[in-house]
């Protein structure tokens, strides 16, 4: 009996593991520009955008919790939560009076409008990445959606729309939180495919991240305890990233070097 349970558990363990396949976009242009025109800075921007989208859908992480940004019935929710609430409301329609339903749906629509506005606002900075090359982005979105089996995704319409009409697509084609979540998730996945299709740029970005981690490990060794969270520490980190992160290899990053750079920074920014 116990063996059967263990086998079942093992089997369950393997089936619940997500399908971790990388989808690569086969664009000649991407291959051509990877590592040069699409570089670590591009990946940083894309990852930053992904982070913002993630915060919209699943909320910001606070300890073990994830906190949403959107008000509904006096509480804060994530889009993912609101999608569930919406589904629940739809399933249990009968337990509410018509007036209650109207009120609840009205509130949901108001929140949805706010979420869309928030998405548009948070996307502004990143739209410039693809500005002027809309047709390239739209081809890449098409390929990503096709490879992911998302042939009816609103993202396809959004990608094909002219740059000044993208918002209209969002307002006109997305009417529920479920649709909105799906749209943002498709976008997140597309960004992921895009990043994976530029391995050289991604490699450079990862190298920067590793250096950043190492720098943060070294920082407590070169700054006394009380200064570790001071404005000086933050400003120096920023300065290091802006001016030195590509100048040194990860092996070169050590306590004497960071100490020297910090002293130089203190002198010049006194």
């Amino acid at each position: 009996m116990k063996k059967l349970i263990i086998l079942c558990l093992l089997f369950a363990g393997t089936t619940t593991e997500p399908e971790q396949k990388e989808i690569l976009l086969e664009s000649n242009l991407l291959k051509l520009v990877d590592g040069f025109l699409v570089n670590a800075n591009t990946i940083e921007l894309l990852r930053g955008y992904q982070r913002n989208l993630l915060h919209i859908v699943y909320g910001t992480k606070e300890g073990d919790m994830r906190l949403g940004d959107y008000d509904y019935n006096g509480k804060k929710y994530t889009i993912h939560d609101l999608s569930h609430l919406e589904q629940k409301l739809e399933t249990h329609k009968d337990s509410h009076s018509a007036q209650e339903l109207e009120q609840l749906y009205g509130q949901l629509q108001k929140t949805l409008k706010k979420a869309k506005d928030d998405f548009i606002e948070k996307s502004k900075k990143f739209r410039t990445i693809g500005a002027g090359s809309k047709h390239i982005t739209s081809k890449l979105i098409e390929e990503s959606c096709k490879k992911r089996g998302r042939r009816n995704s609103v993202l396809l319409q959004w990608g094909n729309a002219p740059e000044d009409k993208e918002d209209e697509i969002l307002y006109n084609e997305v009417h529920t939180f479920a649709q909105f979540e799906l749209f943002v998730v498709d976008l997140l996945n597309f960004l992921d495919d895009l990043i994976h299709s530029c391995p050289k740029a991604q490699e450079k970005f990862k190298a920067r991240l590793h250096k950043w981690s190492k720098l943060k490990e070294i920082m407590p060794l070169v700054l006394p305890g009380k200064e570790q969270d001071s404005p000086l520490a933050h400003e120096f980190l920023k300065y290091f990233k802006e001016h030195h992160i590509d100048s040194y290899s990860i092996e070169q990053l050590n306590q004497p070097l960071i100490h020297k750079l910090l002293q130089e920074y203190k002198k010049t920014h006194n």
């Binding site: 369950a12 979540e181 991240l209 802006e242 590509d246």
Partner: protein, 557 residues
């Protein structure tokens, strides 16, 4: 198995089954419809360190990364086949267009067989048009001047277009686009006044004549309506205002002013009674100057050096993930500047033509003959017919003019470089930038030009009785030999890098028929002649066919 055990087993299996379906984390699929974000770096995106990294500004360009960047650009250029393009000859020729002076047009020869009184003063109002100028000896199409249909260049461009196909919303057919401009040519219009005066003497005294034009000259690049529609269909249609502005800036050159002055003096030569011959000398004095340039179009300078482009805004645009509108505009302006700078030099060579002979002083000899037809065909109706002839040779003295040249193609220079070497990358990129400019831009050097000798032979049948009406009709042949470069005013070492043969125009000839009608109006003190003349060429080499219409009004007193 007892009931308790069965229940336990069922509950365990249900738990396992549920566990396998329910999302254990956000990577898992929720249902068939929803596919959640399957990012492998989920933890990274959520990580505080990652947050701090993203929120700590953007990495500035390292001071010592120029070579790395240059190598990146070179690699891309190599990948897209730009090297092959840069090793092609884009200009097949760089010669200017041959021009026939208005002073040599048969329309402006004396219109009457003979004048009764001693003085003739008058002027022609004329319009002359050449619809397709010859760009080379035999061809009027741009494709004979620029390698628009050269297979090697087209292959190289197609390879590049294929590598960059993702950049364009629609597939780009290089052959079709370039073929649209194959038949492009240059059109010329001249309109204005040709003033003339003549002292008609008796047998022993010389005849003296002058011609002096004041006119408007316009040259433009020309496509037929059908060709323009094809270009618009392929490349898009601009608004009428945009099109007009574009043509004004790059496709039309015009000016108004005086042309060269022609003086002719001739004396009667001893001949048999039935035949009159006058031998004369002529001079063309380079008096031409423009009063105003760029009325409907532009005046194009002829620079002797390459533009000093800074390609950085273009490269920075590529390298910058978040360019500002100003940066984009700057890069766009630079791209336009490069492209139209090259077009404008071509326009300077083709379109910006002097109103005269280009500063050359001309001297020549001519013979005029007058043969009464009645002396040979003794019929009553031949009494008032004359066969008027004129043969002339004119030598133009050397003078300095600007001539355009293109740098020689140097494939060896490519082979000698190591484009993979990062240390040499900046230098290599500069070389590629220079090669790009060398292929596209013509340079104009002061050149001492010895024009070819001009030969003219005109004959016409002229009817003039003591009546109101007269007419003339005949043929005309004009030929100019090939010009030579006596000296090019540039460092000899530098000159070796330029293609000199391509800059020399061919010889040229033109054969015309011409004719006219005239009316005579008698007034107490003078005779007035009003004439309507037409002429058109039917055969030409190295210049193009043209036609002229003129209205001549002259007084004989």
């Amino acid at each position: 198995m007892n009931i308790f055990k069965k229940k336990f087993l069922i509950s365990q299996c249900a738990f396992v089954l549920l566990a396998s379906i329910a999302p254990t984390n956000l990577h898992a699929k929720k249902d068939q419809e929803k596919r959640s974000f399957d990012n492998q770096e989920w933890d990274m995106l959520d990580d505080r360190e990652f947050d701090s990294f993203l929120d700590s500004g953007i990495v500035a360009k390292a001071e010592n990364c120029e070579n790395e960047e240059a190598l990146g650009i070179i690699n891309i250029l190599q990948e897209v086949g730009a090297f092959q393009i840069l090793q092609q000859n884009i200009f097949l020729r760089t010669n200017p267009l041959n021009q026939r002076s208005l002073l040599d047009y048969p329309t402006f020869d004396p219109n009457q067989c003979c004048y009764i009184n001693d003085w003739v003063v008058g002027g022609h109002i004329f319009y002359n048009q050449m619809t397709r100028a010859s760009l080379t000896k035999q061809n009027t199409n741009l494709a004979c001047y620029i390698a628009l249909n050269q297979p090697t260049l087209l292959d190289a461009l197609e390879t590049s277009a294929d590598a960059l196909k993702d950049l364009f919303p629609e597939p780009v057919n290089i052959r079709r686009i370039l073929s649209l401009f194959n038949c492009m040519t240059v059109q010329q219009r001249r309109a204005g006044f040709m003033f003339h005066g003549m002292r008609v003497s008796d047998c022993k005294q010389p005849n003296v004549m002058f011609l002096f034009p004041f006119y408007y000259l316009e040259r433009n690049f020309f496509l037929t309506d059908a060709q323009r529609e094809a270009v618009e269909a392929e490349l898009g249609k601009a608004s009428p205002e945009e099109e007009e502005e574009f043509q004004r800036l790059h496709f039309i050159s015009d000016k108004v002013g005086f042309g060269d002055l022609r003086l002719e003096v001739d004396w009667e030569a001893p001949t048999p009674d039935f035949f009159q011959m006058r031998i004369g000398v002529m001079a063309t004095i380079p008096t031409a100057f423009a009063i105003k340039k760029g009325l409907k179009g532009s005046a194009f300078p002829k620079p002797c050096n390459y533009p000093n482009f800074n390609f950085d805004p273009l490269f920075e645009l590529f390298n910058n993930n978040n360019p500002t509108p100003e940066e984009k505009q700057k890069a766009l302006d630079l791209a336009n500047c490069i492209a139209f700078g090259a077009v404008d030099r071509l326009a300077a060579n083709f379109l910006d033509q002097s109103l005269g002979n280009g500063g050359h002083f001309g001297i020549g000899l001519f013979i005029r003959t007058d043969l009464p037809v009645h002396d040979f065909i003794q019929r009553p109706w031949t009494e008032n017919y004359h066969w008027i002839g004129r043969v002339s040779f004119e030598y133009l003295t050397p003078a300095h003019e600007k001539r355009f040249f293109i740098q020689r193609n140097t494939p060896n220079a490519f082979n000698e470089r190591n484009f993979k070497n990062e240390e040499e990358a900046c230098e290599n990129l500069e070389f590629l930038e220079q090669e790009f400019i060398n292929r596209l831009y013509l340079l104009a050097f002061d050149t001492s030009i010895q024009p070819g000798v001009i030969f003219r032979w005109t004959g016409k049948l002229c009817y003039q009785a003591d009546r109101v009406f007269g007419f003339q009709a005949g043929t005309d042949f004009w030929y100019q030999g090939r010009e030579k470069f006596s000296r090019i005013f540039v460092n000899q070492k530098k000159l070796q890098n330029f293609e000199l043969k391509k800059a020399m125009p061919s010889n040229a000839y033109q054969t015309k028929i011409h004719g006219g009608l005239s009316w005579r109006i008698k007034r107490p003190c003078r005779l007035w002649y009003i004439g309507l003349n037409l002429e058109g060429s039917f055969d030409s080499v190295g210049i193009g066919n043209d036609y002229t219409v003129s209205l001549n009004i002259e007084a004989n007193f």
